[in-house]
Structure formats: C-alpha cells, structure tokens
C-alpha cells in the first residue's frame, strides 16, 4: 500500500545548512496493516504522517501509494489522490466550529464532487453507523471530547478512503473514550482499512499490528 524509499525532510538553516527532521526513511506498509508510529517528541512522527497524508510537499525521496509514484505527481494530482485514498484524524479533532455535526460530515464529500442526494445518503449512513443521529444538528462545542473525536473519525472515513492516518487520535480523551476510539479503529481495520497512527501510548500501539519507532528523524525499529 505504502512504500517510502530514502525519504528525507529538512528545513534550511543559515549558510546553506539544513536541519533534518526525517532521514533516509525506508518503509513499507501493506494493505490492511495497522501501524503505530511511536517515538519521543521531535522525533518526526507527525511530519512523517503529514508527508503520508500529502499535506507536506517539501521532502525528497520516493513515495509510492498503491503503486502510484507520489514523488512524480504535481501538487494538484497529489490532492486528487489524497482525496480518493486518504482520511485523516487529528488529535485536536479539528471539527469546524460553525458547522453542525451533519455539516461537518458533509464537508469532505462536498470536496469530492458527490451529488447532494448521494452525500445525504452517505452522511445518514455514517450517522447511523456511529450512532450519532441524535446529535446531527449539534455544534462541536455542544459535544464532549469523545463525541467530537467520534465525529472526527466518521468524517475521516466517510469518503471511504483506503488509508486512515491518525495523529494522536486519543491524545485529548480520557481513557474510556480513548479505548472506544481504538476499538473503532480495530473494527475499521478488520473491515480492510489500512491505518497508520502516531501515538505516545503503548496501550494504543498495542491495538495495532506493527510498531515503528522513530528517533531524531531515523527509524530505529520496525522498518
């Protein structure tokens, strides 16, 4: 599903020097895998996740997603590929404050040229699947953290991506809410979705099938 070859990410410093956030990353993730990326703060975990999510374009190396050479794609083509294949879950949920739950779920579909009727059916299906029908007209501020993240996950998968990227998905939740989300991830993984998550929690990592350890931009374990 994912293949990274000699991937590097750096930021320029003074006098033509560079600060490397990621160095010589070689990684393969199979379809249906559930990978947890771990490591101390500043190890490059989130940077790697955003590169996989094609939010960050300033890297060098080779990145293949489902056989497509991402490194050869133009930004517009990467955006199309991302919209087709990837869903993203954030630690801070990042729901749009001014939109209701229903509208938050509708937003990714509206960016993917679904017809209105199709979108309505998909949103209704997702509300039902996540058992949040009763909350569809509420605003994010009217939900608990766990409920917000539930909506965040629902939003990430509503366009049926093959790859789900999650950046500390339970970082802001208390333990029972965190477990709920992780069990949801397991269920999605069982249904065939590839998941890559960044986490500090050993417990959360244990829900996955594989752990990759990053330190100072290098993969030190699980390559």
């Amino acid at each position: 599903m994912i293949k990274l070859k000699n991937l590097e990410r750096s930021y320029p410093l003074a006098k033509e020097k560079f600060f490397y956030v990621l160095r010589d990353i070689n990684l393969e993730v199979e379809e249906g895998d559930f990978v947890s990326i771990m490591g101390p703060s500043g190890a490059g975990k989130s940077t790697l996740l955003h590169i996989l999510g094609m939010h960050d374009h300033g890297w060098r190396g080779e990145y293949f997603l489902g056989g497509t050479a991402v490194h050869h794609l133009k930004p517009k083509e990467r955006a199309t590929l991302r919209n087709e294949q990837i869903g993203f879950v954030f630690q801070q949920y990042h729901l749009l404050d001014d939109l209701t739950v229903y509208e938050n779920l509708d937003i990714p579909l509206s960016y993917r040229h679904y017809k209105k009727s199709e979108r309505a059916a998909m949103v209704a299906d997702m509300l039902d699947r996540f058992q949040i029908v009763g909350k569809k007209d509420l605003y994010p501020s009217q939900l608990s953290g766990g409920q917000q993240q539930l909506v965040g996950v629902a939003r990430a998968i509503i366009a049926e991506p093959k790859l789900l990227l999650a950046d500390e998905p339970t970082g802001n939740l208390h333990s029972s809410q965190g477990e709920e989300i992780m069990e949801l991830f397991c269920k999605l993984n069982e249904q065939g979705m590839t998941i890559v998550q960044v986490t500090h929690s050993e417990k959360n990592a244990s829900y996955g099938k594989r752990v990759i350890q990053l330190r100072d931009g290098w993969i030190v374990k699980g390559e």
Binding site: A79, R82, F90, H94, D97, D98, Y111
Partner: protein, 802 residues
C-alpha cells in the same frame, strides 16, 4: 473615566495598524464633511456683511429666470421705491459695469457696480477711508462723478494709499473722483461677486435713466418691521400692474417676488440644491466611514470577548464595559476629527484663494465650522462605538469564556458586521455611481453641440468705447481692423461679433409682427437673444449656415434691414413655413430674414433651445467687438500678431487676446459640470478608499480568524476554489449584494443627482458598466492579499501549531 481613557490609549497604542487605519478613515470622513460644511457655511449660512441682513431682500420677476440678475428698469425702480408701503428703503445696482481704469501709468480692466445713491446707506456699511456715494450727491444726470474703490483695487492699483481720496481716475472715457474705499470684508450683496468699484447710476448709464425697456437694475429692499415678504411681494406686484397700465408700451406688469440676495438671484436655487446635495453625499461618506469603523470595532470586540467576559466575571458591570469601548471610540474619533479639521482647514484656505468663474469665495474656518466638526466627531464616535458596545452588553460571558458560537439561530451566518460592510458597500456604490454620472455629464457637456467650434479659434476682445468716431466712420474703422486681422499671415478666416456666447449680458429683445403699430410689450411675439455680427463671423465661429446667405458689407442702413435667425427662432415664428424672406420688427426696424443658422448654446449648457437673431454690424452700431480668428498657426504665434495688427489701427483700444477654448473654460459654461465632477469625484474616491479598507479589513480579518479552519478544510480535501470561497466568499457576496443595493439606491436618488449633475442618468449603460467594473476591481484589489494568504495555508504546519 480617566482610567478608561488611559486604558483606551494603551489599547490603541498596542494596535498601531488598526489605530492608524481608523484614524485615516475618520480623518477622511470628518475632513470631507468639514470642507463641504465650510463651503455651505460661507455660501448659504454666512450672512452678508451688511447691517440687519435678515431684513434685506432682492426683487425678482415672478418667473424663474436662470442666471439673470436684472429685473427692472431704472424708472420702474424709482416708481417702485416711491409707491411701495412695505419697504423702509430700496436701492438698486447694475452688476455689469465693466470698464478700463486709467490712473497715472496704470491701465487696468476692471468690473464694478453702478449703484443708486442710497445703496451704501441702505446696506449700512461704513467706509474704511473717505466716504461713500450718498443720495444727496445725485442731482440728475452727470451730477455725481464719484467712485468708491474696493479694498482689493485700492491695494492693487493704488498701493493702499489713503491719499488717493480726491484723485481723479478715468473709467473708460469718463473721469471720476475717488471719494472712498469700501471695507475689506464688503463685496456688495453677491457672495460670488467681487466688484472693483462702485459708481452712481446718474454718471454711468444716463441713457438708461429714462428708458423703461432697459432692464438694468437689480433692486434691493429692506422690509419695514412686521411686514412679511409675501405682503411686500403682493404690494410690489400691485404697483407693477399699475405701472403696466400707465406705461402699456414698456411695462409688462409681471408679478414680482422676493428672494434672499447673495446667490445670483434665482441661480441661488441651483447653488443651494447643489451644495445641500453634495453635503448629503459627504454625510454618506461619513456614514460609510462609521460603518467601516463599527465593523472593525465589532471584530475587535469579538476578539476581546474573553477579556471582556473575564472582566464581567471579576465584577465589572456591563455599563463599565460599554464605557470602556466608548472611551476607545471617543479617543480615536477626537484624534481623527482633529486631523480631519486640520486637513479641512488647509483645503478651505486654498479654496478661499481660488478664483472661480463666479468670483472668489470667502470661506474660512469660523466658530460654526469648529462646532460642526466637534459635533461630527462626537456623533461618529457614538455611531461606531455603540454597535460593538451593544454587542458586548448583550453577549453571554459564559459563552464568551467557552469561546463557542453564540447560538444556533438560523441567521447566525448573517452578522451585524456583514450588515455594516454591506451598507458601506451600498453607499460606496452610490457614490461611485454618482461620480461616474458626473463624469458622463461632463463628457456629454464637452461634446454637446454648442453651435460654434471653439477649438482652434482665437478671440481678440477690442473695446472701442473711447474712440471718437461714430456711424460710418466707426464702421470703416471696424472693417479696417477686420481686414488687418485677415491680412495676418496664416489667418484662414475671421469675423467679428459684439459678444461671444457664454460671456453673459444676454437679454431678450422683443420681436413684433410686421405692421405692428402698438409696440406694447404684450404685443411682442418672441424675445430672442441678439448678436451683432460682421460678414464672415459664422465661418470663423464654425456656425453652420443652414439656409440662404450670410450678412454682407452691402447690407447698409440705406438698404433693407436684414437679419439671420437660428432654427429655433424660425420654428417658433413660422413653424414649418420657410423662414427666408419672412419679416419682423426688431429694434424699431422691419427686418427680412436672409439666412438661417444652426441652434446652439448661448447662456448656459442647461438652457432649452433659445431663439436667436443675428444683426449685421453694418445696420446696428456696436462699439465693443470680439474678433474671432481661425488659423492653423499656434496660439502663441498668433496672439502677438493679432495684438500688433489691431493696436496698429487703434493704439488706445484695450485689447485682450485669448483662445476661445480658454474663454469657454474660464466662464460659467462648464463650471457647474466641472464643480460637480470634482465634488462627486472626490466623494467617489473617498468612498472607494473606504470600501477597499472595509472589504480588505473584513477579508483579512476573516482569513486570519479562520486560518485553522482553512487548514482543516485543506486537510479534508478542499481545492483552491473551496479555500477561496471559504476565505473571501463572504466579502465577495457582500460586495455583490451591496453593489446591487447601491445601484438601486442611485436610481431612486436620481432626483438628488439632478441637483448636481446636468442630465443625470444613473441608468446609463456605460455608467452601470463602469460601476460594475469599478466594484469588481475594488473587490479584487481588496480581497487579493487575504485570498493569497488563504491559498498559502499549510495544513501540516497549522494543524500542528495547536
């Protein structure tokens, strides 16, 4: 309160960009209003510098007469003065006393007033040097050869020498003794006139003293206590009717009415309408500025909602919060207002020095202007300070602390700030439309058929009033001068006329049908303007001869009297019948129409088609002539050649050479259009600046507040168009809606625009196209930077900044 002010200063100091933008906005809004009010104050509100100006009235004919000051004959003035029982005193003046002043080596072209002996006494003015002309000076024609100098003439021509009193000066060919100098602030009773001198009627227009058909006198009167203008007008109208019975051949008995003196008679209505309309538009600029600031303040208040909520939680009353916000608004407004007043003061001073075609206008920053600017400052502060204050006073501190949306009402997306920006855009569109309507009016006026071609023509104004020749000798002299002009190398064609259009002094001359024996004015069938012309004038002026022939040197006083008429004259007199060969009586002679020329504009651009008759110079003696010369040679080559040729034949004549285009530009012809274009142009530019800052402010604020949201949207798959739509969609929608509302407002305000612009038509497709283009460019300019910033959003960076 002091703590509030101190905190306000600190808050404003900490946001220099916001404070500067707000100050500039206020400075422009308040400054524009102070300038307009300064002019309104000087022209409409400032009383004349005479004693008891509230009792002073000017007589006008019952009918509205555009631009014409003259109302009555000198004998009729005397009859009205003697017979009325409603005025304590009446005086008269003729404002068209142009002359050449000669004193020592000084030769100067001057304009002054011929006045009745009691003129100064009735106005209650005191001289600064010497004495004024008095009623007791007059003992019949030529009994009072006295002149009173204006302060300006005294200083410019006589070096402010008090010893000038008793000196003899020449005005044209007559000698006058200087008896006094008027005070510097006194310029007669017309705001736009600055006469150089005053001479008595009895020594000026003697030929008119007994002539009841020469309507040369403008009459002023002071009402008796307790008499209303209406009663006085009825009294005067009754006398006029009585005079018509006594002098049926000369007096029409037309009813009279009273107007306030100062604004060129009935032109005051136009000037008043223009100034009040411009003042209305200036107020709209200030309202737009306040809407702009209210929107900025509301945004800031929303940003500070947590701080304000915390204050409430700590025990601050809502009134205290409102007071705090109002203190900030007041501090800003005071500083902005002061800056606006300084700028306005400079502009008003420049305006005071400016020589308009109507004369110099005395404008100054007086107490009334200061008070107005203070009032505008306070009202502005309340206008833009109250809205955020109200918003804060109504908000929930708990909600503010949680920083969530205020409620979930269906209209939550349409905020007060949107309304303010929309209103501001609507006002901006209105003002931009008004500006473009004015520009179109100006263009239309520049291209309006004038009935002559000023481009490429040179005018040489020659005053022959002092030469001795009369009759045929005078004509021979004029013919020789014209031949001399034609003999100048490079002159293609030349002609002469008594006066060119748009230089004033036109009045209707009664026309009677052939066979008329009773020349009662009521028997006249038309009152055309009259021009006296030499052969070749039409060709030189570029006036198209529609039918038959030009006047000829062979048309003399020994041959049948002829005339050329314009198309309107022909149509009004004879309808569809051929005009050539038709006859009419004018100025005591039966005249035959030998030619018809195209219509034109003669007095002002707004006038309806006017009947005009052209009489040959050979049959109508004329002492002052304007030579119209057309030549491919440059003006600076032709002007000295013309002066040489003319002064060679008449060394004593005062000759003034100018291009016709300059003469036209310097007189009243295009002044209203230029003034309205300038006034509305400035308002339009101010409005555009405010709209740009308003839309930019809103878009920039939107983007900065929503960077995180834009990052989320980008992370969720939003493309460029989605990000653009989310970032600047609202300002663009508001721009569209506001512009539409502004255009509709403009159509509804057509009547207001008509006061300012000649043939104002906001529905003009070019104007609408121009407005749409301007507003689109404005939207692009204002939202470009925020849009670029929104497009540069980096979700990976933004989402990790949490």
């Amino acid at each position: 309160m002091i703590a509030d002010l101190r905190f306000a200063l600190r808050v404003l100091w900490k946001s220099p960009a916001f404070t500067l933008a707000a100050l500039v906005t206020l400075m422009l809004g308040i400054g524009a209003n102070v300038v307009v009010f300064g002019v309104v104050n000087a022209v409409l509100l400032h009383p004349l510098d005479v004693s008891d100006p509230q009792n002073l009235y000017q007589l006008r004919l019952g009918e509205w007469t555009s631009g014409k000051l003259l109302t009555t004959s000198y004998p009729a003035y005397e009859d009205l003065r003697r017979r009325n029982n409603t005025f304590s005193e009446m005086a008269g003046f003729d404002g068209f006393a142009e002359a050449t002043l000669r004193w020592g080596n000084t030769v100067k072209s001057v304009t002054g007033y011929a006045v009745t002996g009691n003129y100064f006494e009735m106005l209650g003015v005191q001289p600064q040097v010497g004495r004024f002309i008095q009623a007791t000076d007059e003992h019949g024609p030529n009994s009072a050869p006295y002149v009173v100098l204006s302060d300006q003439l005294w200083r410019s021509a006589f070096s402010a020498d008090p010893g000038v009193i008793g000196t003899t000066v020449r005005l044209n060919k007559d000698s006058f003794t200087v008896v006094g100098v008027a005070p510097a602030r006194f310029h007669g009773t017309e705001h736009f006139d600055r006469p150089d001198y005053w001479v008595p009627f009895v020594n000026w227009n003697q030929q008119f003293l007994q002539n009841r058909t020469s309507m040369t006198v403008t009459v002023l009167g002071r009402l008796k206590p307790g008499v209303t203008p209406q009663q006085a007008a009825e009294n005067l109208s009754a006398i006029a009717a009585q005079l018509a019975k006594e002098y049926p051949q000369t007096d029409t008995g037309m009813p009279l009415r009273l107007v306030r003196p100062g604004l060129q008679g009935d032109a005051g209505d136009v000037i008043r309408g223009f100034l009040y309309s411009v003042a209305g538009l200036a107020l709209l600029v200030l309202v737009a500025a306040c809407a702009n600031l209210a929107s900025l303040f509301a945004a800031r208040a929303a940003d500070r909602s947590r701080e304000l909520a915390l204050r409430v939680a700590l025990g601050a009353s809502r009134w205290r919060l409102v007071r705090q916000l109002l203190a900030e608004a007041m501090v800003l407004s005071m500083v902005g207002g002061a800056a606006g007043l300084v700028i306005a003061g400079l502009l008003l001073r420049a305006l005071d020095q400016w020589q308009s075609p109507y004369g110099r206008l005395a404008v100054s920053v007086d107490a009334r202007v200061y008070l107005t600017s203070i009032a505008l400052t306070i009202v502005s502060a309340l206008l833009f300070g109250m809205i955020p204050a109200r918003q804060v006073s109504q908000s929930s501190p708990l909600q503010a602390m949680k920083s969530g949306p205020v409620d979930s009402m269906p209209l939550r997306r349409f905020t007060l700030r949107d309304l303010l920006v929309g209103a501001q855009i609507a006002i901006c569109t209105l003002l931009v439309t008004a500006s473009l309507v004015a520009v179109r009016g100006m263009v239309r006026m520049l291209h309006a058929p004038l009935g002559f071609q000023p481009q490429g023509a040179i005018l040489a104004d020659v005053d022959l009033s002092e030469i001795e020749q009369r009759g045929d000798a005078l004509l021979e002299k004029q013919k020789a001068m014209l031949e001399a002009v034609k003999g100048i190398p490079g002159v293609a064609t030349a002609g002469a006329v008594n006066r060119v259009p748009f230089t004033g002094g036109l009045r209707g001359i009664p026309v009677f049908p052939p066979g008329t024996t009773d020349f009662n004015l009521n028997n006249s069938v038309l009152a055309p303007y009259r021009f006296t012309i030499s052969p070749g004038y039409f060709e030189a002026a570029g006036t198209r001869l529609v039918r038959a022939r030009d006047v000829s040197w062979r048309d003399t006083t020994n041959t049948p009297y002829v005339a050329i008429v314009n198309e309107t004259f022909a149509r009004k007199m004879w309808g569809d019948m051929p005009a050539i060969g038709q006859r009419f009586i004018l100025l005591d002679h039966l005249r035959e129409v030998v030619g018809v020329v195209e219509d034109g504009k003669y007095h002002n651009m707004q006038e309806p088609p006017q009947p005009v008759v052209y009489l040959p110079l050979t049959q109508s003696e004329q002492r002052g002539l304007v030579f119209v010369v057309r030549s491919p040679r440059a003006h600076n080559e032709m002007a000295p050649a013309l002066e040489r040729a003319l002064s060679g034949l008449e060394p004593n004549a005062l000759i003034k050479v100018q291009s016709w285009h300059d003469v036209l530009g310097g007189v009243n012809a295009l002044f209203p259009a230029r003034a309205s274009t300038a006034a509305l142009g400035v308002m339009g530019v101010l409005a555009v600046m405010l709209a740009v800052t308003g839309i930019f402010g809103m878009a920039a604020y939107n983007v900065s507040r929503r960077m995180k949201e834009l990052g989320i949207r980008a992370a969720l798959g939003a493309r460029t168009k989605h990000v653009m739509s989310a970032a600047v969609g609202r300002p663009i929608v508001l721009l569209g809606l506001g512009s539409l509302a502004g255009l509709l407002l403009c159509v509804l305000a057509s009547r207001l625009l008509e006061h300012i612009v000649y043939q104002a038509n906001p529905r003009d497709p070019l104007v609408i196209g121009g407005v749409v283009l301007t507003m689109a460019l404005l939207g692009i300019a204002a939202s470009a930077i925020p849009a670029v910033r929104a497009l540069a959003v980096d979700p990976s960076k933004l989402l990790r900044e949490e």
